[in-house]
Symmetry: C2
Subunit: 500 residues, 2 copies
C-alpha cells in the first residue's frame, strides 16, 4: 500500500479534527494550521473520541500514534506534507484564498484535498498555479469511523492526482470513491438533500414526529443501506428476474409521484421550533456527547459485524476494515518490554459493551478472547507473526486451564501478562495473568499448552530456529520467577495454601 | 406481552411468506390461503431463509415452531385467527374484495392488517361491515429480519385496534410504529421515493455508476441511519447547540436546492438498460440467492451489534432484539432428554461466520462460548433459569479446563453434551464434550467447576433445594457412566493411554 508520509490539515473543526485523528491513529505525523482560539480543544476532543472508538473497532495493533503539531502559519504547516487537507468554512472566496496560499507554500508533488461538501473543484482550483493536484476529498462525520471519501476532480485535475489520492486512503482505513463528473453536492449530499426535503414536509404536515420518522428509517431500510446501498437492495427485491424486472414493476409509479416535487418547504420559525422541540423529546436527556458515544459504539459494532459478513470474507465497509486490520497486523512489530525478568505485559484493553452480559459483567468466553490476544502478542514477539503463519507454520492451542478469581466489568481497564514456563522444539507452555490495570488485582489466569504445526502437512513440526531462540531467551529471563500459583493444577484441586 | 394465538395469511408471496415465517418462528400456528400454484414453494423458500437467519441472529431458545397449514378456501384460513394479514397484489379493487371476504368470515375480535405499501386504509376499509378492525401493517423486506411495521389507521379504524396491533408485534420480534395521519405511501416509501428519484437522475446524467452510488450510501450515511435515522444524526451534527442550530445553518440551502425538483426522470429503455447492465456488473456473478444470504448474514450481525450498543443496554433495533430474546429465555423450558444415562445433549449449533478466523477455523474463544451455552442450558434444565437469576441467585464458573482435539470450521454443524461429575450444596462439577453433529468426532472438551452464589450478598451460598434435587437426579442417572477421558487432568499431563 502507498502510504502518506506526512499530512497537513488546514482547518481543525469537527471535520478537520476527524481527518487529523484518522492520520494520527494510522501513525502519520500531522501539522495543523487553524487560527481559531478553540482549535486545540476541539481537535483534542475529536482525537479522544477517535481513540475510544478505535479501541472498540479493532483488536489489531495500531502503530505508534503520529506526532501532532499546531503551527503558527499555514506555510509552516504545509511545507513538507505530501497530503494536505483543507477543511475551512464553506465559502468559495475563503477556500480559494486558502488554496492559493497552500499552492504557493507546499511541495510540488503534494496532493491537496478539499473537504467541501458541495463546491465544484473547477471553481476551487481556478486561481491556483498548480491546479492539477487539487481535488475534492469529501468525508462524512464522524470522519474517524465512516470510511467514505468522495473524490472529485475539476477540469484541471490530473488523472495521476485522482489515482494517487484513491491509493493513499486504504492505509488510513478509508475508501476513496471516484465521482467521475463534477456537479454541486456530488452524490452523497444530493441523495441526502432529496430525502431531507421530503422528511421536512412529513414533519411540517404532521404526518409523524421526528422520532417516528427516525424509527421508520432505523428499523427498516437503514439496516439494508448500511450494507448494500440502494440498487443492490432493489436488485434483490426484483427477485430472480433482477434489476430490469424491478424497474419495469416500479418505474411507472414515478409518473404519479407520491412525494412533494415542486415545493420547497418553508423553514419558518414555527417549523424550526416544532422540530427543535420534538428532537429534544427524542433525545430524552441524552447530551450530544452521550449521543456521540452511543453512535460511535454502534458504528464500531456494525463495522465489526460487516467484517464477519459474506462467510467471514467481509462485506462493504467491513471488508475494508478487514484489509485495514490485515495491514496493521502485517506492519506490527511486537516490541519486548525492557526487563524480561518479569511476566511480559502484552495486552491492555477496556471491557467493551459487546463483551458484557445483562448485568455488565464480562462474559465467560471474553476472558479467553483476551488470553488468546495475549498468546497472539507473544507469538508476534518471538517472530511467529502473520508472515510466519502465511508461510505455512503456526502454533495451535491444544489445552487451556482458566481460573476466575475476580470479575471484570463494563468499561474496566484490564491488562494481561505472560510468563513462559517451558519450551521445546514443538511445544510452548505459557501462563497468563489478567489484572485490573489500575489496582493490579488479579481477575483470572490461563495456563496454555501450544503445539507448533506445519499447516500444509496438517501435523506437528519443529518451530523455526530463530523463533525457538527468541522463546528460549525469554525462558532464561523468566527462569528466576516462581511457578505461578495455579500452574499445573486440575479442575477442583484444592488451593495450595490449604495443603501447606 | 400480549401474544397472537393464531395467525392467518392471505397471500403468500415474498412479503406474505415473510409474515408467515415471523409467526411460525415465534411459535404461532399459521393458516395460509393463496391460490397461486407456486405458493407452497415460495413460502417454503422464505421459511428456509428465515430459519437460517434466526440461527445467526440469536442464541436464545426459540419456541417449538408453529404449525403451517395451507387452506383450500379463504374462509377456512381466517375463521379462527386473531391476526389476519392480507398481502395480495397492490390493486385497490382486488384488496377491497379480499378484505370484504375476510370481514365476512373471521372472528369479530380479529385484527386485520394489510401489507399495502401505499394505499390509504380509508379506501381499503370502505366496503367492510366491521371496518374498525382494519389497519395498514406495512412491513419491509426481508420481513423475518427487519422489525419495522408502519401501522396506519383509516377514518373508521378504532383506537383499540391500533393499540392492540402495536402491542402484539414485540412477541414476534417486530416494532409497530404508528403513523398518525394517513397519506399515500405513508412515511418510509415517501422517503425512499424521494431518494430513489434523485438516484435515477444521477445515473441518467452519468454522474456515477450504480456501484459508486451504492458505495456512497453504504460506506457513509447508511451506517449512520442503521442506528439513528435522520434527525438524531443531524442533532449530533449541530453540536452542543443541537437541532435548532443545525436547522439555522443548513436551512437556507433548501432555498437553492441542489437536487432536481421539478422533473421526473423518464425511465425509457435506454435508462433501464443502463441500470440493468451496471447492476449486473455490480453483482459480479452473485445470484439473487447469494445476495439474499449475504444480506441476511449482514443484517443478523448488524442487529447483534446494535444489541450490544448503548453500554450493553441495546439501541434501536438491537434493543428490540434484546427484549425479544429476553422473552424467549423467560418462556423457555429446558426439556431433559428422555434417557439420563447418557451425557445430556444440550446445544446444537452451526459455526457462524462471526466465529471464524481468516482461514475459516473457529476462533479459540468461541469454543468456550459454545461450552458456556451448554452450561446455561444445563442450569435452565435444573431450574436455575432466568427467574432464578433475577431473584438473586446464580452459578458462577470458577474454573475451566479445555482440550482441543479437532477443528471446527465455518458452517460445520456441531453439538455439545454434558456429563455431571459431582454436586454438593454449593458446587457443580461438569464435563462437556463438543462433537461434529454428523460424524460424532470429538472436537473439544471442557471440564468446569461452578460455584453457587447469592449475588446480592456477593458470596457463595447453598443452591435452592429443588435445584439441588434436579441436579442430584441427573448425577444418579450419570453414575454408571465412566469418568470422561481428560477429566481431572492438568495442562501438559501426558495422555492416560501412554501411562497404561
Amino acid at each position: 500500500m502507498i502510504k502518506i508520509n506526512k499530512a497537513a490539515c488546514v482547518g481543525g473543526g469537527v471535520i478537520g479534527g476527524g481527518w487529523i485523528a484518522r492520520f494520527l491513529l494510522a501513525g502519520i505525523d500531522v501539522d495543523v494550521f487553524d487560527p481559531h482560539p478553540e482549535a486545540g480543544r476541539i481537535v483534542g476532543e475529536v482525537i479522544a473520541n477517535a481513540e475510544r472508538a478505535y479501541a472498540m473497532l479493532t483488536g489489531a495493533p495500531l502503530p505508534p500514534r503520529g506526532k501532532l503539531t499546531f503551527c503558527k502559519t499555514l506555510e509552516e504547516a504545509v511545507v513538507d506534507a505530501d497530503w494536505i487537507q483543507e477543511s475551512v468554512p464553506e465559502r468559495l472566496d475563503l477556500k480559494r484564498n486558502v488554496l492559493m496560499e497552500i499552492d504557493a507554500a507546499c511541495r510540488p508533488d503534494a496532493l491537496i484535498g478539499s473537504s467541501t461538501s458541495g463546491l465544484l473543484p473547477s471553481d476551487l482550483q481556478r486561481d491556483m498555479q498548480f491546479p492539477e493536484r487539487l481535488f475534492v476529498a469529501h468525508p462524512y462525520n464522524p470522519v474517524y469511523l465512516l470510511p467514505l471519501v468522495e473524490i472529485v476532480g475539476g477540469e484541471k485535475t490530473s488523472h495521476a492526482t485522482i489515482k494517487a489520492a484513491i491509493e493513499k486512503l486504504p492505509p488510513i482505513g478509508m475508501k476513496g470513491v471516484h465521482i467521475t463528473k463534477e456537479i454541486e453536492a456530488f452524490v452523497g449530499d444530493r441523495l441526502l438533500e432529496a430525502l431531507w426535503r421530503e422528511a421536512l414536509w412529513l414533519i411540517h404536515d404532521d404526518i409523524c414526529s421526528v422520532e417516528t420518522l427516525d424509527d421508520v428509517i432505523r428499523y427498516s431500510f437503514g439496516l439494508r443501506w448500511a450494507q448494500m446501498g440502494l440498487f443492490q437492495t432493489y436488485r434483490i427485491a426484483g427477485g430472480e428476474a433482477g434489476m430490469r424486472h424491478f424497474l419495469a414493476q416500479f418505474g411507472p409509479c414515478l409518473a404519479w409521484p407520491w412525494t412533494k416535487l415542486t415545493d420547497v418547504v418553508d423553514l419558518d420559525d414555527a417549523l424550526v421550533e416544532k422540530i427543535g422541540q420534538q428532537s429534544d423529546e427524542q433525545a430524552d436527556g441524552l447530551s450530544i456527547r452521550d449521543l456521540e458515544r452511543i453512535r460511535d459504539e454502534n458504528l464500531a459494532g456494525i463495522l465489526q459485524a460487516l467484517k464477519a459478513g459474506n462467510g467471514g470474507q467481509g462485506w462493504g465497509a467491513g471488508e475494508l476494515l478487514k484489509d485495514f486490520e490485515h495491514s496493521l497486523w502485517a506492519g506490527a512489530k511486537q516490541t519486548a518490554p525492557a526487563d524480561h525478568a518479569v511476566p511480559l505485559k502484552l495486552v491492555e484493553a477496556r471491557v467493551s459493551p459487546a463483551w458484557v452480559d445483562y448485568n455488565g459483567h464480562m462474559t465467560e468466553h471474553r476472558y479467553l478472547q483476551v488470553f488468546g490476544d495475549t498468546t497472539d502478542a507473544l507469538l508476534r514477539l518471538i517472530g511467529a507473526d502473520l508472515a510466519y503463519v502465511e508461510a505455512g507454520h503456526s502454533y495451535y492451542t491444544v489445552e487451556t486451564h482458566i481460573r476466575h478469581l475476580g470479575e471484570a466489568k463494563l468499561g474496566q481497564a484490564i491488562s494481561s501478562a505472560c510468563q513462559l514456563l517451558s519450551v521445546d522444539d514443538k511445544r510452548l507452555h505459557i501462563f497468563h495473568t489478567m489484572s485490573d490495570a489500575i489496582s493490579g488485582e488479579t481477575l483470572a489466569t490461563a495456563e496454555q499448552m501450544l503445539l507448533h504445526v506445519d499447516s500444509k502437512a496438517g501435523k506437528s513440526s519443529p518451530a523455526a530456529p530463530d523463533v525457538l531462540a527468541k522463546a528460549r531467551a525469554i525462558i532464561e529471563a523468566h527462569a528466576s520467577l516462581p511457578l505461578p500459583d495455579g500452574a499445573g493444577r486440575h479442575v477442583g484441586q484444592k488451593p495450595r495454601v490449604e495443603t501447606a
